[in-house]
């Protein structure tokens, strides 16, 4: 029994060791670091203070890595207050949320949860004010 457990453990470790380099090759950089469409505070063609909820919906629908099946829309009256979604592989980020005020984007939150580090972010945004 102990021998079988050891064999299973060795097999799992072997598979994990094989998959890790594959994951490292296929995984993309964070969507925060690799945005070919625009510069912060714009993300993926979505600009705080300028982009409407309808435009955001269309953009998210055609964005690779946005798991559109997980898109959740929070509505009050006839106004969209928030979109939230999960990213899917090979995008390493976790979640995205977009908040609206008065029908326009007010804030965009990308849950990176480790897909980028401080050095990479500072390289993109420059030194912070505070």
């Amino acid at each position: 029994m102990l021998h079988e457990d050891s064999a299973v453990l060795a097999f799992v470790l072997c598979i994990g060791a094989t998959l890790e380099p594959v994951r490292a090759i296929t995984q993309r950089p964070s969507v925060v670091l690799a945005d070919p469409l625009c510069d912060p505070p714009c993300w993926n063609g979505i600009t705080p203070g300028a982009t409407s909820a309808d435009e955001v919906y269309s953009i998210l629908a055609r964005t690779e890595g946005v798991d559109f099946g997980t898109l959740f829309e929070r509505i009050r009256g006839d106004q969209t207050l928030q979109f939230s979604w999960f990213f899917s592989a090979p995008i390493p980020d976790s979640t995205g949320r977009i908040y609206f005020i008065g029908g326009e984007v007010a804030a965009i939150t990308i849950g990176t949860y480790g897909s980028a580090d401080v050095e990479e972010i500072l390289g993109m945004l420059g030194p912070p004010a505070a």
Binding site: I101, A107, A116, D117, V118, L125
Partner: protein
């Protein structure tokens, strides 16, 4: 949290311990980033002073920042 007030970015660094506003914590280049937030500065002037727009309670603060209209409040 790192803040670019004028430009409208904020970066929340992932630390195991909590990091309340006004309690500076040392960060390193290799520290993981938990969240990146882009925001419209003019929408959140009061919130930016408290820095409560970011972190675990950010969602509630952002949702509350959307004021109810008179039409929505009407009976």
């Amino acid at each position: 949290m790192l803040l670019w007030l004028d430009q409208g970015y904020a970066v929340v660094v992932d630390h195991r311990s909590s990091c309340p506003a006004g309690d500076p914590t040392q960060i390193s280049p290799g520290d993981r980033v938990a969240q990146v937030v882009y925001f419209e500065v003019s929408r959140f002037p009061a919130l930016l002073r408290t820095q409560s727009l970011f972190g675990p309670d950010s969602e509630a603060v952002l949702v509350e920042a959307a004021p109810w209209t008179e039409a929505e409040l009407a009976p």
